[in-house]
Subunit: 497 residues, 2 copies
Amino acid sequence: MKSPETPMPHPHRFSPARPCFIKDVPHWDLDTDVLVIGFGAAGACAAIEARQAGARVRVLEVASAGGGSASWSGGEVYVGGSGGTSVQRANGFEDSTEDLATYLMMAGGPGADSERVQAYARGAEAHFRWLQDQGVPFKGSYLPGKWIEPTSDDTLLWSGSEQAWPFRDKARPAPRGHTAQFKGWGGGKVLMEKLCARAAELGAEVHTDSRALTLVLDEAHAVVGVVARMDGTEKFIRAHKGVILCAGGFILNKDMLARFTPGALACNKEVSGGNDDGSGIRMGMAVGGAAIHMDQFFATVPFFPPASLVKGIFINGRGERFINEDAYHGRVAHYVLRQPEGKAWLLVDNEIFGRPVIKPDVTVAAVGETWEEVEEELGLPPGSLVHTVKTFNEQAEAGRDPLFHKAADWLRPLTQAPFAAISYCSADLEAHAFTLGGLATRPGGEVLDGDGQPIPGLFAAGRCACGLPRWGEGYSSGLSLGDSTFFGRMAGRTAAG
Amino acid sequence: MKSPETPMPHPHRFSPARPCFIKDVPHWDLDTDVLVIGFGAAGACAAIEARQAGARVRVLEVASAGGGSASWSGGEVYVGGSGGTSVQRANGFEDSTEDLATYLMMAGGPGADSERVQAYARGAEAHFRWLQDQGVPFKGSYLPGKWIEPTSDDTLLWSGSEQAWPFRDKARPAPRGHTAQFKGWGGGKVLMEKLCARAAELGAEVHTDSRALTLVLDEAHAVVGVVARMDGTEKFIRAHKGVILCAGGFILNKDMLARFTPGALACNKEVSGGNDDGSGIRMGMAVGGAAIHMDQFFATVPFFPPASLVKGIFINGRGERFINEDAYHGRVAHYVLRQPEGKAWLLVDNEIFGRPVIKPDVTVAAVGETWEEVEEELGLPPGSLVHTVKTFNEQAEAGRDPLFHKAADWLRPLTQAPFAAISYCSADLEAHAFTLGGLATRPGGEVLDGDGQPIPGLFAAGRCACGLPRWGEGYSSGLSLGDSTFFGRMAGRTAAG
C-alpha cells in the first residue's frame, strides 16, 4: 500500500484541452527560445528557419523519430508561379503567379484566405529552390498523363484539377506537383529525412518520444511554454519566444471526427503517420484559439489508374451524371460521397475497362451487352441510365460535354460492349481521408482568437492550422506538403523574430 | 489635456475572445447564483427554471428589453411525440416519441446528437404543456396546407420535411409546428412577452442595456462570473453556481461568417433581432469551449406561397432537377445555393403560376409557348430542359416521381402554356439566414472543451450552443425555438442544481 506521502498519479492532471497556468509550474526543466511541437513537415521547416534566424530551438516529437505523416506521403509539393519553377520551365511549362493565385483561391473554396494565397503564390517558386537547397532531391523530369501518385522517380506531374472545369476557365493550367525523387510510392520519406537532418544539423535540439501535454499560459494570457511527458515524467519547458504547434490533424481521433467532422466518418482509410490525434489543435483551442473549417476533409477514392477509367462516367441512383470525371480524384470523391442514399457507379465499356491499380478488387455491380441490361441490373428508374449514356455518347462523339464540361481528351462514346458498372456505393466504398480544419492563423503563423487577434507566444502550421487546403472539393495533391513546409518556415521566422 | 493620473480608457480592455482572470477582478459589484447572458428564448427559460429551483438569478440583456431574436420570429415551436400534444390529438394526429426521434436524427444530419434528440423527443410533449402553463397562448386549431409561416392565428401546421422524401420513409409524418396565437406574422413577440414576464415575476433580476464583455476564470479554470458594461462602467459580477450563455448566434458578425461560415455570405437577409454578434460563442471559445458545426446555417428562399408553386420543378444550368420541391423550403434553398455557377430556376406553367407572396418581385427569366422556347431563352444545352420536363410530365401523369420522390399531392404535369422560368440564380436570389453552429454542450447545458469534458461553471443554450438544428438541409420551422426553450430550461436547472 502506498504511503500517504506518495500522491496517486492522476492520468488527467494535464490535458491538451486545458492550459496549465504559470502559477502551477513548479520550476522549468528545460529552456529554449522557440519550442516546436511535432517534427513533421511543418515542424522541421519551422525549426530550420528559427535556427537560421538565430533562435535556440527545441522540438518535441511524440514518435521515436521525426517525419510525421509527411514521411508516409508521396512527397509531392504543389509549387509554381513566378514564371515557373526550374522544372516547369525545363519541361516547357510557363506558370504565372497570377494563375497560381487564382487556382489556389478556387481550390480554397468559399473560405479561401486571400492573404495566405498571395503570400504562397509569390513565394512558391523560391520555396522550391529552398527545398532543393536543403538537399531534397528532385530529378527534374516530367511525367505526362493522369496519376494519383507517380510510381516512377519523376518530378513534375499534373496533380490537381488544373485542366478540368471550372478551374481551367479561370486560371491557365500548369502541372505543379513536384515529387521528391524516389522510385515507387513514398517520396515523402526522402523529403522528411532531408528536412529533419537539416534541422538537427543546424542545431535544433530534437526530443523524440516526447509528448506535449498542454500549453503554459502566463498571467497576461501569453503562451510561455508547455508541459510535456518525457522519459516517463512531466517536464515544464520554457519557450521565451514562442511555441509553434505542428502536431498534425485529427483523422485518427474518432471522437473529434464525430463532433467536428462527421462527414469524414464515411471514409475508412486514414491518411496518417500515426499521430494525428488533434492534440495540437486542442491545445490551441484551450487557450482561446479559433478552430476553423473543422468540417472539411480531404477524401479520395482511387478509381484510376489506369487513366482509361477516367473516360468512364459516374452516375447516381437517378441514373444521372454528377461531375466531370477528369476533375481531381479527391473532388470526384466528394461528389461520390454526397450522392443520395450513397449510390454511385462508374460506367465503362469494354475498351476502357481495367481493374483499378490501387484497389483491384472493386465490385462490378452490373454487366450487360446493352446499357438497358446494365440499367435494369442496377435497378435504376427505366430509361434514366440509357438517356444519360445516349446523351453523353452523342456529345462525346462531337467532342463536347455541355453538361459537365469534361475535357475533350477524356471524351469517348461508351459503345464497345460488354458494358459494366463499377460500384462506388457506400457499402463498397474505400475512401482515404485526412482533416483540413485547424487553428486560424495569419500567414506568419500567429494563432488567432475568436476576435481574429493573435494570442501572444502561440503559432501553428501544417494540419494543426487551417491552411491553403481548407475545402475538400478543392484539394490537389501536394497542397498539404506545400502549405506545411512553406508556412512552417514562416512560423519559424515569425516566432524567432 | 488629461492628467497622467487619468488613465486613457482602453476600448479593448475586455474582449469576449479573452477571459478575465480572477486576479484582475478588483472587487465584485454584483452577486448572484446563476447569471444568464441574454434574455431571449433560451435565457428566459433558463431564468425561469433556475429561479424555480431556488437559485438567485440575474439576467444581462444587451438590448433595452427582453425578447431577443425569438421575439422577431413566427413563434413556432416544434413539438410532438408521447402519442401527440393535446393540439395534435384534438386535430386527429397521433405522434410517437420514436417517430419524432427518428425525424430529429435525420434533421440533425451527419452530426446529429442522439443524446440530445432522445431527451427532446421524450420531453417535447410535456414541454408544450409547460409553455402553456407559462401563459403562452395557443388557439389549438389546425391549419392545413403548405406554409412558411401562418398568417392566421392557428396553432398546428406542417412545418418541416415530414411528408417529403426521404423523411417520410423513415418516420411516420405528423404536423409538429405549434405557433403562439397571433394574427399575422410575429407570434414570437407573444411567446417572448409571456416568457420574459414569467421570469421577472418569479424574481429573476433583469438588467437591460447591459453587455457582457467576457467571462471571469478562477485559478482552477472554472467560470465564476463575468465582466459587463452597465450604466457606462465595467461591473464585475460573481456567479456562484454558473454562467449560462444564451446570447444568440452570429449571423450579424460578417467577420465571423467569413472565417467560420463562408457559405452563409451568399445570403443577404439576416434573420436576427439585432444582437446576434457571436459574443456568447466567442466568450465560450476563449475559455476553451469547443465550437462545433460552425459551417452550418439555416437558409431559406421563400419561393412559395402560393402553394401551387410547389408543383413547379427546380432545374439547374444543366436543365436537370436536383430536389423534390415539396421538401422543407430551407432544404430546397440549400440545394438551390449549391448548384454550379449559381444557376437555378423554378419551372411553372400557366395553371400553377402566381407571384410568391413573400417576394412578389421575382425575376421571370423566360416565358414561352413551348418548353423548347424556354430552354432556348435560358441558354441551356439543347434538349436538356425539354427532356427533363418530358420525363417529369410522363411520370407526374402516372402519379410517380421515381427520380426525386416528390409526393403525389404535388405532382402534376406542366402542360398548360404559356410556360415560364422564375429565376433563383445567385444574382436574383434573396436568401434569409441564421447560424446553426455554436458551443458543444451536453443536453444539460454544460459547455464542453476540446476533449469533450465540461468546463466548470459554464453553460450554454439557444443559438450560442450547437443544438438540435445543426444541419442546414435538415432544418424545420420551430426547431430553433423548440431547442432554445427546452434546453434553456435544462441549462437553468443544471446550473441551479
